[in-house]
Amino acid sequence: MESMSVMAEDMGYDPRAGQTRDEKEGTTQEDRARDLGMMSEQLKNRSMEVFFEVGEDENLTYPWAADVDFNKRTELNCEGKTTTEVNKDINGLMEEGYGTIVLQNPRGMHSVGVGILNKLNLIVEGSIGYFGVGLIDGPNVRINGRVGWSCGENMMSGTVVIEKNAGSTFGAAMRGGDLVCKGSVGSRTGIDQKGGTIIVGGDTGAFSGFMMQRGRMVVCGNAGKNLGDSMYDGTIYVGGEVKDYGVDAIPAELTDLDKAWLTRKLTQYDLMPEKGVDHFTKIVAGKQLWNYDNLEPNEKKLIL
């Protein structure tokens, strides 16, 4: 019996007094839950949290976006810091209103600048490692060194310009914005690309544009094997040689509209070839793989 009463006390009920702890202390279960950190916001009707007010003007910023001034510039030294510290410092500086942040001494650090959902000029003086500036929505990033694998993965908007080379899976699953590497990139560039523009000043490796779904990819140099393998949609432009095409990737006619767009984009990033853009090859999906499951077995054989 003794142990049962101790257990009941632990649960906030004192059988001897006939009152719960809440009744005695004048608190509620909700108050205690909040004290324990179990509830961080007040639930209201069907919505947990309200981000937008009915009367507010339309704009394209996130509700928590910091109001930054591009003319307010500062430097952030990455030396001796962890990735988390650097990314938190970037957020802190944006909240202080800095609109231009220069990162010093990144020395190949991974995941730098991931998840910036704010307008910002981010200048990286040096090279960064894997997953650099992934998941961004809005910032303009210039990286004076090179980047490792998966730079700009899942980026949603903004521009990223890399002055040197990039690793593999450059712009994987990218959804919007411009991702530019002035040097050469590794393999599987733009794998699963869903939008936006990838521009490569040099060469790209094997399996580039694999399962591409939308968007444009421009490669001024050569492309490795299996280019555009299993692409659903989107367009790839290659200025040099294509080692070979993947399943269902086919060359298409380069129209005047394509040439005008290429000229505009490549001029914008100072990558316009001396001989113009007439020599570019355009690659699109043959769309034979669409509704693949509905094909007859002999048709599947033809495709593969």
């Binding site: 040197k164 590794g186 393999s187 399996f207 094997k225």
Partner: protein, 311 residues
């Protein structure tokens, strides 16, 4: 995942021991289970450095008489060296179970090595005029301190941080692998080899020995087999792209060269830096930056790419 790194200085010796330690420390997050180094000093013709172990680290806690067993195994190794007319010039007990001997010998090193490895629990980690192969459990700093590597001067080296995926966490599964019986040849690998058993069967039928069930050891044995058949290092690397199945990037070091090969899927990373003085390579740029903090140009080699550099 695993991390690999390599470094070669052109025409001069440098502090490769401390440089490789810095590079592998930067790659610790890719593999914390064990760390290994194959570093190359100035070749000393006629004298061989033989590094061998007589037990695993975990064996040290396995019985009250382990010390006696180890002493008996070392005595047996020394007896067998004597039978092969190898003179021991210096002995160094680096850890209770790992030894470094300098020996002079002018006979058949392969026969001698096979005879020594017949002693219970004994594996020759490396044998050569220039190669020092060190591997043990723990990160790069632990292993470098344990084996006194930081002051080592040499021309080149390769190293590995291991995340054990398909075999045990022990020294025999740690990289680098010595390409038995080829003096001074060592291999490190990042990836998975999917035709391991097929190739192992072929290699064992040819008489090659395997000391572990780690797929990376196959690359050392495969390289040794190619070299035995008169292939150059470049030939061997090129052939491996076709004959070894799976995803891999691996480095091979010999007395005076360092080579790399990347598989047809280009699924395992390698970042390269080349200058007139040195070439550095690693799974991640952060390892190269650990020894070259200034701004440099680096690039990723493509699928099916092989390279060989001379010291």
């Amino acid at each position: 995942m695993c991390g690999i790194a390599g470094l070669i200085h052109r025409g001069k010796s440098s502090g490769v021991g401390s440089e490789m330690t810095s590079m592998l420390t930067a790659l610790k997050h890719r593999g914390p289970d064990s760390t290994g180094f194959a570093i190359y000093g100035e070749p000393n013709a006629g004298d061989y450095v033989m590094r061998f172990k007589v037990a695993e680290q975990e064996d040290m806690a396995s019985g009250y008489d382990m010390g006696e067993k180890i002493a008996a195994r070392i005595a047996e190794v020394e007896k067998r060296l004597g039978e092969h007319k190898a003179a021991i010039k210096s002995r160094d007990e680096v850890t209770p179970y790992a030894m470094r001997y300098v020996i002079s010998h002018d006979g058949d090193t392969e026969a001698m090595a096979r005879y020594i490895e017949d002693v219970e629990g004994t594996e020759i980690l490396s044998l050569g005029n220039a190669l020092e192969l060190i591997k043990d459990l723990g990160d790069a700093n632990v292993v470098a301190d344990q084996y006194g590597l930081r002051d080592f001067k040499g021309t080149h080296g390769i190293g590995h941080t291991r995340m054990a995926t398909e075999s045990d966490v022990d020294i025999r599964s740690a990289h680098p692998y010595w390409a038995f019986p080829y003096n001074d040849v060592a291999v490190v690998h990042n990836g998975q080899i999917t035709n391991y058993w097929l190739k192992r069967r072929q290699m064992e039928k040819k008489g090659h020995r395997f000391m572990s069930s780690c797929d990376s050891e196959l690359l050392a044995v495969y390289t040794a087999d190619n070299l035995a058949n008169g292939a150059t290092l470049e030939d061997s690397l090129k052939a491996s792209i076709e004959e070894i199945d799976g995803v891999f990037t691996y480095l091979v070091a010999t007395k005076d060269s360092l080579g790399m090969a990347k598989d047809t899927m280009a699924a395992k990373p390698l970042v390269l830096y080349e200058s007139d003085d040195m070439i550095a390579m690693a799974s991640e740029e952060v390892a190269i930056r650990a020894i070259l903090p200034q701004e440099i140009d680096t690039y990723d080699p493509y699928d099916e790419e092989i390279r060989v550099w001379k010291a």
